[in-house]
Amino acid sequence: MAAWDLPPDVVTVVVARAKRSAVYRRARPQLASACPLDVWVADGLGFVQFELDDTRRQPAVPGWLVLAVRLGDGAPVAAKILEPGPDVATMSVSDALVE
């Protein structure tokens, strides 16, 4: 996805800060691409969504990583992995910052 509704310099800053985080480095082998699915800004935070590569996961389940970084200093404030949940029509949300 390349049509984010943010100025290019903002996208660059948000994505760069997300990619400098330890959680990104840990998750990178699981990502389908280093290119985010989406990037947006809300309430002073930058959000970056990556798709997990189901072909590299065991088992091959779909999933997404959502990273939130503070715009001021780039510190990661949250990171969650969303995967199929325990029941049909649910998603399981796990904390990727504390892994």
Partner: protein, 195 residues
């Protein structure tokens, strides 16, 4: 779901607690049950590249799927479609009343061309309450579940490489179980145990 609602949901999910949210796939978030997301207006459009529903019928190259909004969608399956049901498999393993998640492309004629299909996939966080040679018994939110071990069931201990050795899965452990639910039961065919 439009982009703004999807982003609001994802932002709330990222900043909220870990757990389970109501979502029939990322793109089909019609309601959210956790407190952080409860006030969001998520009644939106479906992600066109994601399909979810109950399998109504199966033929040689397609499935008829009844979606949660009660729309019948013919789902096309080709040689290139990845099908998962406990393990990578083929369309022959899919049965009526199975629950399907699929990723793919909507076609102009209303059919859905699937790239990947997951059948009955579940992801249980549970406490192991019993182990024997062929089953795991576990407590999932106060309910008793049975996990049927398969010849290719693997365990991942502390996220290390998958291992066929399940001896490290013991009573009292809290584990994550990925497998295929047996519809209408509290039973699951276990693919992977994260211990």
């Amino acid at each position: 779901m439009d982009t703004m609602n999807r982003r609001r949901f994802l932002a709330a999910t990222a900043l909220g607690g870990a757990g389970v949210v109501s979502a029939a796939g990322l793109g089909m978030l019609s309601t959210a049950t956790d407190a952080e997301a409860a006030d969001l207006d998520l009644a939106g459009q479906l992600d066109p590249n994601f399909l979810e529903g109950r399998v109504v019928s199966v033929d040689a190259s397609s499935l008829i799927v009844l979606t949660p909004d009660l729309v019948m969608r013919r789902t096309l399956v080709t040689n290139g479609t990845q099908v998962w049901k406990v393990r990578d498999t083929t369309l022959e393993a899919v049965r009526a009343d199975d629950h399907l998640y699929a990723r793919g492309l909507p076609m102009q004629d209303g059919t859905f061309a699937a790239d990947s299909i997951w059948i009955n996939i579940v992801n249980l966080h549970a406490e192991v309450v019993g182990v024997d040679a062929s089953t795991l018994r576990f407590n999932h939110h106060g309910e008793a579940w049975t996990g049927h071990l398969q010849p290719d069931t693997v365990a991942r201990y502390s996220m290390r490489a998958p291992s066929r050795d399940l001896s490290g899965v013991t009573t009292g452990q809290h584990v994550q179980v990925v497998g295929a639910w047996r519809p209408g039961t509290n039973e699951v065919d276990v693919s992977t145990v994260f211990a």
